[in-house]
Symmetry: C2
Subunit: 271 residues, 2 copies
């Protein structure tokens, strides 16, 4: 099934816009799991089994695996989701972006080697670096548009000659000329609800991946108001640390479930 259809099905059938970000920090794992890089898969598996009915997507963050040479744990994590819960879309958050022939290799890495349903991509290099991803018509390409970090506005909010900000130029390209296969979604940070409202106006019903809730300071009510589509969906609202490390004891999976449920309910209250 096409990535965007997987996502829409989850939004509706499970009434959830929550994405759990898999950002493993082995040093934060509870002692019953172990704190080595080889313990990452067991930790992720426990989180996934405890939250699977409450999420619309999972988002493993590549750096957390690569920094400790645990690429095998990433492959096992995605493999587990796609085998046990194939209806849940997986967004590989690796923020790729390179010239065409190299971008094609990154697409192969994400979609074939890791079996992800979609991958985050940086748009700075332009259309020919995005196309090798979007050409995988059934897979999703999640383009950085307006990110959630404090320095995001430095380049992204620069005003261009026709009055649009740089992030609006990206949104316009993503919604129009770049979106031949209707499989692009955008990263729009929860910390920038005004920008999110502008992007929604430019992109119709395009799905947004929304980081920045919680620790980074994003407000749920403002995000839902600014970003939801007419049918009250259109958002994949990510939370990582607040869910994964809700408890540092052996009850961590139950605590993760409770946090995920709390976020689901809080979001749905504003839809």
């Amino acid at each position: 099934m096409k990535f965007t259809d997987l996502l829409k099905k989850r939004w509706i059938e499970h009434e959830t816009l929550v994405c759990v970000g898999l950002d493993p920090y082995p040093e934060k794992f509870p002692s019953n799991i172990g704190r080595r890089s080889e313990d990452i898969f067991e930790f992720n598996k426990a989180i996934i089994d405890a939250t699977q009915d409450l999420v619309c997507a999972y988002k493993p963050q590549f750096a957390h695996f690569a920094a400790v040479a645990a690429e095998d744990q990433l492959k096992r994590t995605i493999g587990y989701i796609k085998t046990k819960y194939p209806e849940i879309p997986v967004i590989l958050d690796s923020k790729r972006g390179d010239i065409g022939s190299t971008a094609a290799m990154y697409a192969k890495e994400a979609f074939e080697h890791y079996q992800a349903d979609s991958v985050t991509v940086n748009p700075y290099m332009g259309v020919d670096t995005v196309k090798p991803f979007t050409d995988h018509a059934n897979k999703g390409t999640v383009l950085l548009c307006r990110t959630s970090n404090p320095g995001a506005s430095e380049l992204q909010n620069l005003e261009t000659r026709d009055g649009l900000k740089l992030y609006e130029q990206v949104a316009k390209l993503a919604a129009n000329t770049w979106n031949e296969h209707q499989n692009i979604m955008l990263v729009v940070g929860a910390t920038a609800p005004d920008e999110m409202a502008n992007i929604r106006k430019l992109t119709g019903d395009m799905p947004f991946l929304v980081p920045g809730i919680g620790a980074q300071g994003g407000d749920i009510e403002a995000v839902v108001a600014a970003g939801k589509t007419a049918d009250g969906t259109g958002l994949v609202i990510n939370s990582s640390r607040a869910i994964l490390y809700a408890s540092d004891s052996s009850d961590f999976a139950d605590a993760a479930r409770a946090e995920t449920l709390k976020l689901k309910v809080a979001i749905n209250a504003y839809r």
Copy 2:
């Protein structure tokens, strides 16, 4: 030794601005090496041994390893250079870029796990995503500024309100507020000599990593004229495929050496 000092020393002592890009395609390897992903290190080693006195840097391209799950071959390749030829700087071309805490993990991946001397980074997300790399004062951060691909101008050449193009905004930030430790260099494509001349004006003696010579159409004379500093250095001119696959027989290392020497001489003729 600091990355930029390593580079300057090579430029002067070895009279070379050539960087050999290590973009392994196992299917193009000669049959005496083998064509499996496990053969990548042996191929790279032969190329390195044959070209080491002619280069100012090596640039392994991350995707070529990651797409075939050969991260171990990347680690062995860089480890080999840093053990046998420690005076040659290694640029890990992985085009990272993420929020602060994640960028710190990518810095750890590049500088500690892989032992690279510098890493390519995408500036789209702003200063707080660049700083975790530049804070490694002895390491180099190689920011994308004006890339060599056909679609590069789509966003990078957008004109902003104060009359500067987006790539010029990046160059200005890189040369000034972002460059606390004087360890930033810029990616400036050989296919855009006019833009390179503009970037040189904004950045003093900042080193440029220059992809796009050869297959992509960049012209050596135009690049050297547009990009060299007052002392005839300032450029790390990359060539990958034209060197690596100069021959598909058992003489591939000799052929690679001949191509590297040819490029070195051609560049020096215009300095």
